[in-house]
Structures are given as structure tokens and as C-alpha cells.
């Protein structure tokens, strides 16, 4: 690893201790993703991009409970996690727009975001591929006794792929400090889970490996946080992995080009009622931690911030052509 100290990302991570900041981050994620969708339509983004709107409580709930030295692997649906873990809006929007200001200087694109200084590896574009890698990070923590844990985040569809199975078995038999987090958003691309997976709750798959499986309300940031905190403690105490199934939903289609017409009528509407931002906002108001005015103000601030980041990105340079040949190997002399 060759990671510069980037205090800003760490600061953004530490800020999540505050409940208002948690809400602010969820709102920021939503705003960034909405902006990305617009940037797509405006022609600034190539390839594909995968929104996680509706799933923000999972991302922020994880980020606030784990240490910034812990390691996270997640998928192409990673805007939310990168931002929650501490990446700045411009590094994410910048990457997705292919600018040198991006977290990978525009070389990776939407499916390969990262936030190295707060533990997020470049996100994985092959379904399931990040799960064994997280186990390896957990193994390293165990061998080096760093006290760190690893977190593997993946979708419901991913639990049908071999890498999931092999990883859970491996992590269990080796008692690795890793948390397996399934974001069950009910769809793998355009296919509803009941057509790909003959069981209702992914969590029960833990029992095949002697791993505790837990069903969590992924729309409730506090429920998410509690489950993570328990699993993290268990992992740090050497008690091995946990499988957490976050019941959640993506409000958009699978990727930018998907209008999600395959949804049964009413389904989206029902889930919109469980919008994690709305739920958390109401809770904060009930707890007297926030007022409607504060919420309004946060929204305005966040919108302004995201717009500023966007403009910064759009004004920023494209990467140099020399980047193409950089970082293939460390030692250039062994290259042909």
C-alpha cells in the first residue's frame, strides 16, 4: 500500500459520529447520485453507472460503525459507499466523468471507485469478486495482528455465485475478522430475486457455514448500525464472521439505461414510503435533534456543495495520455 495521508477523507469519516452528519451524508449521497444521473443525460459520462438511491442507510450505517483503517470491498454500485466512507463528492463525480480530479484520475470510471485512505479498495465490477478479497484482507489483519476487520458488501444476486460460497466457508473455518453484508435490494439486474433464488432470506445461507446470519432493516440506519457494531465486535474479538442481510431497495433501475419497467405496480411506491432519508429525518425530529428548518438548510447546503463539486469537475482537466502506460507494474524495466 502506498497511501498518502488525506486528512479530509478521514475527517469526513469521523464526522459520522454525529447523527446530523449521518443524515447530511445520506442526503449528500442522494444528491450526488441525482447529479450523476443528470450528468449522464448531459453526455458527460461514458459506459454505465449504477445508482444506489434508496440504499443510503446501509452505506452510512456501515461507515459510521467501522474504523477507517478497516478494509471494505464493494461493487460497481459503490457511489454510496465511497461517499459514506469519506471520499469527497468531487473525487467521485470526477472519476465518473473521467477527469484527472477523480479518485482514480479518470482511469477507472464508475465501476472502479476507491477511497484508499479510508479503506475502500477499487470497487469490484465482477459479481462476487470482492468477497474473497475481503477475506484476504481479514486474513492479513489476523496474521499481522493489526486489529482491523474487513467488510465485504455485495448484492442479493451475488449470493448465487461461487465466490460467495467459497468465501463464507473459508472465513468461517479460519475464523477471519470479516463481515459479509448483503444489500438485498430484491433484484439482480432486471431479475427479481424470487426468480433466481429459491429462498426468501439470504441470511439463512450463513447456516451452511456455521455463520450467524441476521436479517436487518436496511432502511433504518440505526438498525444497520447496531448489526454492524455487533458483528464488528465479534470479528475483533476473534469470533469470526457474520452474515448480515440488509433488506433494502433501489429506487432507480439497475443502471442508467434501465427504466425498471419490470417492477410490479405499487412496489416502488411502497418502498418510497420507507425512504431511509425520510425515516431518519422523522426520527431526528422526534428525538428533537433536528427541526424542519435544519433539514431544509442541510438540503440547501448539500445541493450547493454538490453543485460546486460538479462545476469543479466539469472545469477540471482530462487525464494525460501518459497515464495509459502508468502503474501497470511497479518496475518499468520488467515491462517489454
Amino acid at each position: 500500500m502506498n497511501i498518502k495521508n488525506e486528512p479530509e477523507a478521514v475527517r469526513r469519516r469521523e464526522a459520522l459520529k454525529d447523527r446530523i452528519e449521518q443524515l447530511r451524508r445520506m442526503i449528500e449521497i442522494r444528491a450526488v447520485e441525482e447529479r450523476i444521473q443528470a450528468l449522464f443525460s448531459e453526455g458527460h459520462i461514458r459506459g454505465s453507472t449504477h445508482l444506489a438511491n434508496g440504499q443510503e442507510a446501509v452505506a452510512v450505517g456501515i461507515a459510521k460503525e467501522i474504523n477507517f483503517r478497516d478494509v471494505v470491498t464493494c461493487t460497481y454500485r459503490g457511489h454510496s459507499h465511497a461517499l459514506a466512507l469519506g471520499a469527497s463528492p468531487e473525487s467521485i463525480i470526477g472519476e465518473i466523468c473521467g477527469r484527472s480530479i477523480g479518485c482514480a484520475r479518470g482511469i477507472g470510471g464508475s465501476m472502479h471507485l476507491m477511497a484508499p485512505e479510508v479503506g475502500l479498495l477499487p470497487t469490484f465490477a465482477i459479481v462476487g469478486a470482492g468477497i474473497p478479497v475481503a477475506c484476504g484482507a481479514a486474513l492479513a489483519a489476523k496474521v499481522k495482528k493489526t486489529g482491523a476487520i474487513a467488510v465485504a458488501i455485495f448484492g442479493d444476486g451475488a449470493t448465487n455465485i461461487g465466490a460467495f460460497h467459497e468465501s463464507l466457508n473459508f472465513a468461517s473455518i479460519k475464523k477471519l475478522p470479516v463481515i459479509f453484508i448483503c444489500e438485498n435490494n430484491l433484484y439482480g439486474e432486471y431479475t427479481p430475486i424470487q426468480l433466481s433464488t429459491p429462498i426468501e432470506n439470504i441470511a439463512i445461507r450463513g447456516s451452511s457455514y456455521g455463520i450467524e446470519g441476521r436479517i436487518v432493516d436496511g432502511q433504518d440506519i440505526d438498525a444497520v448500525a447496531t448489526s454492524i457494531s455487533d458483528a464488528a465486535q465479534k470479528a475483533r474479538e476473534g469470533e469470526g464472521p457474520t452474515l448480515l442481510e440488509m433488506k433494502t431497495y433501489r429506487f432507480s433501475g439497475h443502471s442508467r439505461s434501465d427504466p425498471a419497467t419490470y417492477r410490479p405496480p405499487g412496489e416502488l411506491e411502497n418502498w418510497l414510503k420507507k425512504d431511509p432519508i425520510k425515516l431518519f429525518s422523522s426520527n431526528l425530529i422526534k428525538e428533537n435533534l433536528a427541526s424542519l428548518e435544519l433539514l431544509e438548510q442541510i438540503k440547501i447546503e448539500v445541493t450547493r456543495k454538490v453543485e460546486k463539486a460538479t462545476q469543479k469537475v466539469l472545469a477540471s482537466s482530462e487525464p494525460l495520455e501518459s497515464e495509459i502506460l502508468n502503474h501497470v507494474y511497479e518496475n518499468a524495466e520488467t515491462k517489454l
Binding site: 465482477i126 455465485i161 432486471y190
Partner: protein, 334 residues
């Protein structure tokens, strides 16, 4: 009639499903959703969800199921959305499908087709933009083909489905939306193992395939040298006769490959051509390939990374005018 390549693929599947009840198709989101690239649209509605089957995200599982179904007499066409996904399932092709006929001494065969989208140019990033024919090429028992447009997509796919052995069809993703003049003739087949000379020329033989074929054509339009273009179509086994004859005629051979040099098909072809003797050669051979780096996402960089008509024309013009093989751009300073 102008047909997009995705329509040609869809038509080839439709006609195959209609004409042979043993044909089935399997893949992620190919049924209800009509495929990630819409190459299977309407087929599930027409043939039912048993013959046009959506699968879980389990490439090893459903590719292996394709192998088993093929052994038992079906003709499964398995779709891999992106060729990279075979990285989690390669064994079923290179170890199981490839050796079944050999090990069973001809008692079992695997008339399986695996179609996959491949190749670059659309900003999908370095894990969704490769060609990767080298994972399969040269594996005894497998065949690998790559269409270059609607006509060859139709003809190759139908031939592949009818072939008694496992065939891998690499469809250049960037061509799915491109229209090509092609009046579908249900009897049209592109024979496996045969290349096509798609432009005649006297100065140099340019062997290419897939998405690079149109780059080659565009390059030939602007190049001072007279280029004879061979569209390989079958990457393995390849058509040595057509290539040898053309190279003998022009005295120069260049390959244009959407691969790194160490993994591309050009090395085998060039070494075989030159093994025939050196007397007919007016110039050294030359390979135009990708640089030894993953593909970058940014559009400007991706365009630099991929061979362009200008670059190809320049390289070939240099070869023909000097009879010295030119350097690749990445050997110069950027």
C-alpha cells in the same frame, strides 16, 4: 435492408429456435428483459421460459448446465453478458466441453455455443472491455469465431449452432448498434474456419477481425498503400489457405488485433506464414496491437489506446514505403 448487429443476432437465434427444437438459450436477463444488449428480445415470449431461460448469476453453473444439456443432445446457446465473466467459469469450456469428445472417443459431443459480448470503445472500463480470445484459442476441441457486422454475426452464429462441437462466438459489443446492409437469408451460413477477403490490394495483406475490421476498412480508404484486407472471422481454427495466398501475392503481412501482442492471434499467424519461406516477403511482418496496459476509462485515453484508422494507415504506409517495420506508439515517448 439495413440491420443492426443485435437484430442480426436476434434473428439468428430466432431462426435457430424455430428450425431446431433442440436449440435452447440460457443466460442472465436474456428472457424477460431481452438481454443486456437486447440481442434476445422477444424470444422468451415466443418460445417460452424453458427454451429461453433466465439464469441466476452463476456463470459456472449455467455454462456447465449448457455443457451437460449439449451432451444429452440439446443445442444450447449460452450468453455471457461480457466475456470477462468467463473468468469465473472457464473450466467448463476449456476443460470439460473441450475434452468431452476426445475422452469419450466420439461417444459424447458438446454442440454448445457460448456467445459473449467483447471488445472496447464504449467506456466500460478495464474489466468490461477486453477481447480475451486467448483464453480459448488453440484449446483443442474448441472453436472461436468473431463477427465483424450483421451479416457475419448472423452467418457465424447459425453455423456455430449447427456445428457439432463447442463454439465460442465473440460479438464486438460496439457493433450491436451498427447497421449493415444485409437481407436476411435463412440459409445463409458463414462457414467456420474460413476467412474473407473484404478488400483487394496489391501492397500489403492486412489480417484483422471483429471490431477492428471496420478500422481496417477506414484505414485502407486513407492509406497511400493498397491494402488487401482479410476478415479472419474464425479466430480458431483459422484459414491458413486464404492468408498464405494473399501474403504470397502482396509480399507483406500486417495484423491488426484488439489484443496485447503476447496474447493476440497474430503471432501464430505470422509465424506460420513466415514458416512457408521468406522469399516472397518484401518487408518484415508487422503487428498492430494494444499496448501492454489495461484499457483506461476516459474517452480520450481510450481512443488513444485503441488503434484508429489514422494510426493504422500511418503504420502501414510506413511499412510499405520503407520496408522496415515501424515502431508502436507506446515505444515512443507520449
Amino acid at each position: 435492408m439495413k440491420l443492426r448487429m443485435r437484430q442480426a443476432v436476434q434473428k439468428a437465434l430466432d431462426d435457430s429456435l424455430a428450425s431446431d427444437e433442440n436449440v435452447i438459450i440460457l443466460g442472465e436477463d436474456i428472457g424477460a428483459a431481452g438481454g443486456a444488449f437486447k440481442a434476445t428480445e422477444g424470444l422468451m415470449e415466443k418460445y417460452g421460459s424453458l427454451r429461453v431461460m433466465d439464469t441466476p448469476i452463476s456463470e459456472m453453473g449455467f455454462l456447465g448446465a449448457g455443457v451437460g444439456a449439449a451432451i444429452m443432445g440439446l443445442k444450447p446457446v449460452v450468453e455471457m453478458m461480457f466475456i470477462e465473466f468467463v473468468g469465473v467459469a472457464l473450466d467448463q469450456l476449456t476443460t470439460q466441453a473441450a475434452t468431452m469428445r476426445y475422452l469419450s472417443r466420439g461417444k459424447f459431443s458438446v454442440p454448445l455455443v457460448m456467445r459473449a459480448s467483447a471488445s472496447a470503445g464504449q467506456g466500460f472500463g478495464c474489466q468490461h472491455s477486453q477481447t480475451l480470445d486467448h483464453w480459448f484459442r488453440g484449446t483443442p476441441g474448441l472453436k472461436v469465431v468473431m463477427p465483424s457486422g450483421s451479416r457475419s454475426a448472423y452467418g457465424l452464429l447459425r453455423a456455430a449452432i449447427e456445428d457439432p462441437d463447442p463454439v465460442i462466438v465473440l460479438e464486438p459489443r460496439i457493433l450491436y448498434g451498427v447497421r449493415e446492409e444485409f437481407d436476411v437469408d435463412e440459409n445463409y451460413r458463414q462457414p467456420l474456419g474460413k476467412a474473407e477477403i473484404i478488400r483487394n490490394g496489391e501492397d500489403v495483406t492486412l489480417v484483422t477481425a471483429g471490431a477492428m475490421t471496420s478500422i481496417a476498412k477506414a484505414a485502407a480508404e486513407i492509406c497511400p498503400a493498397k491494402i488487401e484486407i482479410i476478415d479472419l472471422l474464425s479466430i480458431w481454427p483459422w484459414d491458413s489457405k486464404t492468408i498464405f495466398e494473399s501474403a504470397r501475392k502482396t509480399g507483406r503481412i500486417v495484423t491488426l488485433e484488439e489484443s496485447q501482442a503476447a496474447s493476440g492471434w497474430g503471432g501464430d499467424i505470422i509465424s506460420k506464414v513466415l514458416e512457408q519461406g521468406l522469399d516472397f516477403l518484401k518487408a518484415p511482418p508487422h503487428r498492430i496491437t494494444l499496448p501492454d496496459a489495461p484499457i483506461p476509462y476516459n474517452g480520450k485515453l481510450e481512443a488513444k489506446y485503441l488503434p484508429s484508422p489514422n494510426y493504422v494507415s500511418k503504420q502501414i504506409a510506413a511499412l510499405v514505403s520503407t520496408n522496415v517495420a515501424p515502431k508502436n506508439w507506446w515505444n515512443e515517448k507520449l
